[in-house]
């Protein structure tokens, strides 16, 4: 009998626990932000700081639609399945009006597919995968950051000017690396049909055997190298390459390597004279870029990364979006995204109606070492709008939607 009673008690407790619904406060507009705060802390923390800074500024000016704007930050452990679960929770239980976030492309793609199925708006702030707005693009997903294709095309433009004919590529063996190499090859051969790709190296992500890779590239005797490795792989590649003299007399073009998140760990061993995309926060002297960097350093007491910029811009985009829509209704938001213009630290960007890609550009320059740290010099900001495929091509990839 005792057992039955305690069982009943247990069941009641479980039922209460399962049914408990946290009260949703109505005094702020909530955005569900999902990211890999632990797994990719070096990238996610500057991003989160950027968002927080923007929110403080927006809310100090009265918020949006008369309410405070709020981001709910949740960690997905870098696991797509987990991200989808959290997305559902944010939308149905926490009262979020739309989703944002992710750095990893696979999580971004999972969230995009989920958003389309459930009819939630998803702002893919950082993932780079081209498929996100093209082959797998859908009505509910919008991407802010300069995509792999755009950045590779920018580098290809610069690469064609060197006149180098024999190219080697090295890229991590996963979707981002493959996309980048394909985009670079396509853009470069379009400009200069005579180029030849003499070797393609595909180290496993974060498991590079740098000595072997350098030997394999050296064996092919290329004129120039296109690099897509990053993080620890890049550091090892640079060190082995320098030690073994791989980069002597060769032009190197390298994707993302100028971003502080990747360049700073290399310290005084940062490569010199590579053409890279990145973020030269230390060199702004005026304008909105400078204003943002100053505000960020004042608020957080640390240098901004590219993640900080993207985070800051994400919050700006969301605020502008809700203001334009005039409500937080999903359909209104979706319509407002078409040709949405947002003024940001890097200038005005537009979310293209055609493929939901923002026209955010990238800084392209050469690497150098200054005061024992890697920096970008002779950089220019290239507008993303100029480095996208033709509208017909995009339409074809999106399958006409």
């Amino acid at each position: 009998m005792k057992l039955v009673k305690s069982t009943m008690g247990l069941i009641a407790a479980v039922a209460l626990g399962l049914g408990a619904v946290t009260a949703v406060s109505a005094d702020s507009i909530k955005i569900g932000e999902i990211n890999h705060y632990k797994r990719m802390a070096a990238f996610a923390n500057p991003y989160k700081n950027g968002i927080t800074l923007a929110l403080e500024e927006i809310n100090a000016k009265g918020g949006v639609l008369g309410k405070d704007l709020e981001f709910i930050f949740r960690d997905d452990q870098g696991d797509p399945g987990e991200a989808v679960k959290i997305a559902e929770e944010l939308m149905t239980r926490d009262g979020a009006v739309m989703l944002a976030g992710s750095i990893l492309s696979n999580v971004g793609l999972a969230l995009a597919s989920f958003a389309a199925e459930k009819h939630y708006i998803y702002l893919a702030s950082e993932p780079l995968a081209d498929a996100l707005v093209w082959e797998s693009g859908n009505d509910y997903t919008f991407r802010l950051r300069t995509s792999t294709y755009m950045q590779a095309a920018m580098l290809a433009g610069a690469a064609a000017k060197t006149g180098a004919k024999r190219w080697a590529t090295i890229a991590p063996n996963y979707a981002y690396g493959k996309d980048a190499v394909a985009a670079f090859k396509k853009a470069l051969t379009a400009i200069d049909p005579d180029v030849e790709f003499v070797t393609e190296q595909w180290p496993a992500l974060f498991k590079i055997d740098a000595g072997a890779e350098v030997q394999a590239i050296e064996r092919a005797k290329p004129d120039a190298i296109f690099n897509v490795t990053f993080g620890g792989d890049l550091a090892k590649f640079v060190r082995e390459g320098n030690t073994r003299g791989l980069f002597e007399g060769r032009e190197v073009f390298s994707l993302l390597s100028g971003e502080p998140e990747y360049l700073d760990p290399l310290k005084d061993e940062a490569p010199v004279g590579w053409t890279v995309t990145g973020y030269p926060w230390y060199d702004f002297t005026e304008g909105p870029n400078k204003v943002f960097v100053d505000a960020y350093m004042k608020r957080w007491n640390e240098r901004p990364g590219i993640g900080s910029l993207v985070g800051y811009m994400s919050a700006q985009v969301v605020a502008a979006l809700i203001e334009k829509a005039g409500s937080t209704d999903t359909e209104a938001l979706r319509k407002a995204f078409a040709d949405l213009k947002v003024s940001t630290p890097v200038g005005e960007i537009t979310f293209r109606k055609l493929d939901h890609q923002a026209t955010m550009g990238a800084f392209v320059g050469k690497t150098a070492v200054r005061d024992g740290a890697g920096v970008m010099v002779d950089w220019v900001y290239l507008d993303g709008a100029d480095y996208l495929p033709s509208d017909e091509e995009v339409m074809k990839m999106r399958g006409g939607n």
Binding site: K2, L3, M8, I11, V14, A15, L18, G19, K38, R39, A41, A42, R74, D75, Q77, D79, P80, G81, E82, K85, E88, E89, T92, R93, S105, N106, L109, A110, S113, F114, E117, A131, S136, N173, A175, K178, Q201, W202, P203, A204, F206, K207, D209, A210, G211, A212, Q215, A216, R219, G231, G232, A235, K236, R239, E240, T243, R244, E261, P265, E269
Partner: protein, 620 residues
């Protein structure tokens, strides 16, 4: 020819750190029988501590002193882990300790993040060894030469320690027969502590010594884990010369792989491992595990019994509560329970293998992810209706299990575990690198259920019916004649054979059955998430299930299910906080120490002590 020699040297240099870390793992396993999942964390700590020491110790002498100090520091950390976490649970069921080491991984991850920050650290170059020498015209870094020279010395020193000294004799004796050693008056626990120190210090040394070739980052721990398991298994568990040879073999093959098959480097290592184990099932220098060598530790196991009336009533009432969730719960609680039920089915299928069959698989994610991929691929490429794809998921997983099972079942114990892991990794690397077909790590998208099932509530019921049905089927199988045969094969293969049970065949069928049930879970998973990625085939996923089964209680029928439900619920709650990994790690370690019989086993004992339930008759 010059290039060939240079490549060979690169491979030999790479083998250095790999050998040190792997030999530590091998030693620890050989003596304590603990599969130390946290070994990658020791390696990572060695790198971080070495990095910090190098900031304060300048010059050539400083460099090598820092290497040694890093090794000693990590050795001390290893001792702390052994004393605090592992010593209290040596009498727990075999392999239970790996759950504790998994908790240690989580704690160290967050600690390292707190102390060293999130940014990658590039290791400083070794003073005096920054240049290159030219061998037949090819540049070879001098530090590579240093590594090639040092590694055999470390190996020789270890070999001397193990074969020529008294300590070494005791270690070898303990590797052969622990109980006999302790019966001869050797203080076994200090021997274990000492071996843990040595093993951890070797891992730390490996982490520190690779600094000039790389650096320290927070993903190092899991990144090296698969490689060192592979090395240890190819060399033979507990064999030092084997570990050295295997490290060289893997590293050299990898260097040539990079040059000649750059697209498939991931697969190569696991292919080599699978081939070696098929020819030499116990690795190059390993010995066959002697039966009874690690016989029953702890108390005598109770036979499984069908649940009594009370238990059935409780379960029925609980299922009723679950069935009524749509009436009072939120949409999210249904999503959460859907996730939990799927995971419980996955865990229960592993529990069937592990608890009933005594077959410890480290690669069960192959069938979970495999089933999910079968369903997703069919939907993607042939517009098959979802209902049909869902049915094909277990069939696909079972087919994979038939093949993998046939290759693995010949082995036993930890070799079986490692071979299953190798095949799971093989499958993972195939899916990961065959992007044209599987989508690679961009996965397969838009795999949603048919319209009539797409509603959250309807899919919730579908999951509940199939998931609970699957779990009940697994339980039923445990009590069927087939289940009895499987248990007989687990408890005493020889007696079971004598009674006319074809033990290997029974185990093969069980392996396939468990694979199929994991495939069911995978099928349900892919349609609930709408997409699938190679991460569902990763080692981490296999470990998830493994941890849960042990945590719930291997020697209880409901262990997998209860462990799965508890851990998933706690995880869902904890991930809202900043340092959730450390909290979860400490929680796991706490549960492991306080409840060495797992959650269910310990609850059962507690309730017997309190007189709520009765102890089975005839037991003392």
């Amino acid at each position: 020819m010059g290039l060939f020699i240079a490549q060979l040297l690169t491979g030999l240099a790479n083998a250095g750190a790999l050998f040190m870390v792997a030999s530590g793992l091998s030693l620890i396993f050989g003596v304590t029988r603990i599969v130390n999942f946290a070994h990658g964390s020791f390696y990572m700590l060695g790198a971080f501590i070495g990095y910090s020491l190098l900031q304060v110790l300048p010059g050539m002498v400083g460099f090598w002193v820092a290497m040694l100090l890093a090794a000693i520091a990590v050795g001390v950390i290893g001792v702390i882990v052994e004393l605090l976490v592992l010593r209290p649970i040596y009498r727990a069921p075999e392999l239970f300790q790996l759950v504790a080491t998994f908790g240690v991984i989580l704690v160290i991850q967050d600690l390292a993040l707190m102390i060293w920050g999130a940014e990658d650290m590039l290791g400083p170059r070794a003073p005096g060894l920054k240049g290159i020498v030219r061998i037949m015209g090819e540049p070879v870094p001098t530090y590579d030469i240093a590594l090639i020279v040092i590694t055999p010395f470390v190996a020789l020193a270890l070999w001397y320690l193990i074969t020529k000294t008294r300590v070494g004799i005791l270690v070898r004796a303990a590797t052969q027969d622990r109980e006999m050693v302790s019966a001869l008056g050797v203080n076994q626990s200090w021997l274990f502590t000492g071996v843990f120190f040595l093993g951890a210090a070797l891992a730390g040394l490996g982490g520190a010594i690779q600094l000039p070739k790389g650096g320290a980052d927070l993903l190092m721990d899991f990144n090296i884990l698969a490689s060192i398991f592979v090395v240890v298994v190819i060399g033979g568990m507990g064999s030092l010369p084997g570990a050295y040879l295997a490290a060289v073999l893997i590293s050299v093959l990898n260097v040539f792989g990079v040059t000649y098959i750059p697209q498939s480097t991931l697969v190569l290592m696991f292919v080599v491992m699978a081939v070696v184990l098929m020819i030499k099932p116990y690795g190059l220098f390993g010995r066959e595990e002697v039966a009874g060598e690690h016989g029953q530790v702890g108390e005598v196991e109770r036979p499984f019994k069908p649940a009594g009336l009370n238990a059935r009533l409780i379960v029925a009432a609980f299922l009723l509560v679950l069935a009524l969730v749509p009436l009072y719960g939120s949409a999210f609680s249904m999503v959460l329970i859907t996730d939990i039920v799927i995971f419980c089915l996955f865990a229960a299928s592993l529990h069937f293998l592990l608890g009933i069959g005594g077959l410890v698989s480290f690669g069960h994610a192959a069938f979970f992810g495999g089933g999910a991929y079968v369903a997703a691929l069919i939907v993607t490429y042939s517009d098959t209706p979802m209902e049909f794809a869902l049915m094909l998921a277990p069939i696909g997983a079972a087919m994979a299990a038939v093949i993998i099972g046939w290759l693995c079942i010949r082995l036993t114990g930890v070799y079986f575990a490692m071979l299953t892991m190798a095949f799971a990794q093989l499958l993972w690397s195939l899916v990961y690198q065959w992007g044209e077909f599987t989508g690679g790590d961009d996965g397969l998208l838009n795999i949603w259920p048919s319209d009539w099932l797409n509603d959250t509530t309807v899919y919730y019921f579908l999951t509940l019916i199939i998931g609970v049905g699957g779990i009940l089927l697994l339980r039923h199988a445990a009590h069927s004649p087939f289940g009895y045969g499987l248990r007989a094969a687990r408890d005493s293969a020889r007696q079971a054979e004598a009674m006319g049970i074809h033990t290997k065949r029974v185990q093969w069928v069980a392996f396939t059955f468990a694979g199929a049930m994991a495939g069911v879970a995978g099928g349900l998973f892919v349609f609930s998430k709408g997409s699938i990625f190679p991460s569902e085939l990763e080692i981490a996923r296999s470990f998830d299930a493994l941890i849960v089964v042990f945590l719930g209680g291997v020697k209880t029928l409901s262990g997998g299910v209860v462990g799965g439900a508890v851990l998933e619920t706690i995880k869902d709650f904890l991930t809202r906080f900043e340092y959730w990994r450390m909290t979860l790690g400490l929680l796991i370690i706490g549960v492991v120490i306080l409840a060495p019989d797992g959650i269910v086993g310990s609850l059962r004992k507690a309730s017997e002590r309190l007189g709520i339930t009765k102890r089975p008759e005839g037991e003392v």
